[in-house]
């Protein structure tokens, strides 16, 4: 198993037969290890890009038309996994703070699902992300990054602290380790698969 410290290429062309891009979003507070997780499973060194958000739609819920035209620049990282010769999965690390909600709403529409990465020392950072995902009915799993984590909190205690419903998968991980990051993604897609099957069974 490769580790996150091994050198990844920054530029590696996709196969010419690649035709379908998929998205998974990794959200969480500052410094929780989003980029580390993306790097541990990505086939390229995570790249960074920026979106300039101009006025349109920002804060329309709570402000009137007096809201001035504003521009915000949001940076985010992403990595890539070629799943087979046709399907490519992109992983986006997105800031979980409240002021970035419009980034998710606009940039990540059509995402398969999300991983909420949690640091037990700063669980407050996760509430907003979880609330937002539930609001948007985006399927998600919660992964507790245990790197450097001496806390004795069990998953049950964390589930309670986050007021996480039973149907949302909750797992431990070490974001630095490829096999662990891979398990997080598989947990999410397993969850999605179960949801899809349930939906397809319903007439």
């Amino acid at each position: 198993m490769g580790s996150a410290t091994s050198e990844l290429p920054s530029r590696m062309p996709l196969s010419d037969t690649a035709e379908t891009g998929l998205k998974i979003v990794v959200v969480g507070g500052f410094g929780v290890g989003k980029t580390t997780l993306v790097r541990s499973v990505s086939e390229i060194r995570p790249l960074n890009t920026e979106e300039v958000m101009t006025q349109a739609g920002i804060g329309v819920d709570e402000t009137s038309d007096v809201a001035a035209k504003t521009t915000t620049t949001v940076a985010f990282d992403f990595g890539r996994i070629s799943l087979n010769e046709r399907v490519v999965l992109y992983l986006f690390g997105a800031p979980g703070q409240e002021r970035f909600w419009f980034l998710w709403d606009r940039l990540f529409s059509g995402t398969l699902g999300a991983v909420v990465l949690v640091d037990t020392r700063r669980m407050d950072d996760s509430w907003y992300a979880i609330d937002r995902l539930e609001h948007h009915k985006t399927p998600f799993v919660v992964a507790v990054n245990r790197f450097d984590d001496a806390s004795p909190h069990s998953l049950d205690e964390i589930r309670q602290a986050l007021a996480l419903p039973d149907h949302v998968p909750l797992i431990d991980c070490d974001a630095r380790v490829r096999s662990s990051g891979k398990d997080v993604l598989i947990t999410l897609v397993d969850h999605l698969y179960a949801l899809a099957m349930a939906q397809e069974m319903t007439p």
């Binding site: 062309p13 379908t20 891009g21 920026e50 070629s82 999965l89 529409s109 999605l192 698969y193």
Partner: protein, 120 residues
């Protein structure tokens, strides 16, 4: 590799020049993971950003990758891609699940994803 500099260097004028004064794409036809493929070689006199896109996209390349490669905001890249698409110089392979925010993809696709993930 030179260190990455922030795109937003307080000089929006340059970005407006790149896009011919436009600040928004006409439509949302380019998803972040739409795969872009060049359909021709750059020609003489072509805008330098268009040349770079055509060179970057010789193999399928996602919109986010084009933006990261060119160190330009995604909004700007979408506008440039729209121009190239209108001229028939690129083609776009759109994601299946685009648009609907909360729709769960079909189980067959998810099975394919699981299989792919288990093999990485």
């Amino acid at each position: 590799m030179t260190p990455r500099r922030p795109v937003d260097v307080g000089d929006p004028d340059r970005l407006y020049t790149v896009t011919g004064g436009r600040s928004r794409a006409d439509d949302d036809s380019f998803d972040l993971v739409t795969l872009v493929v060049s359909e021709c070689e750059p020609t003489a006199g072509m805008q330098s950003e268009h040349v770079r896109i055509l060179e970057t996209c010789k193999h399928p390349t996602a919109v986010v990758e084009v933006a990261a490669e060119m160190k330009l905001p995604i909004t700007v890249v979408r506008i440039l891609l729209g121009d190239l698409l209108a001229m028939g110089r690129i083609t776009a392979r759109h994601p299946r699940a685009a648009g609907s925010a909360a729709a769960i993809p079909d189980s067959a696709l998810l099975k394919e994803v699981l299989h792919g993930l288990r093999n990485i």
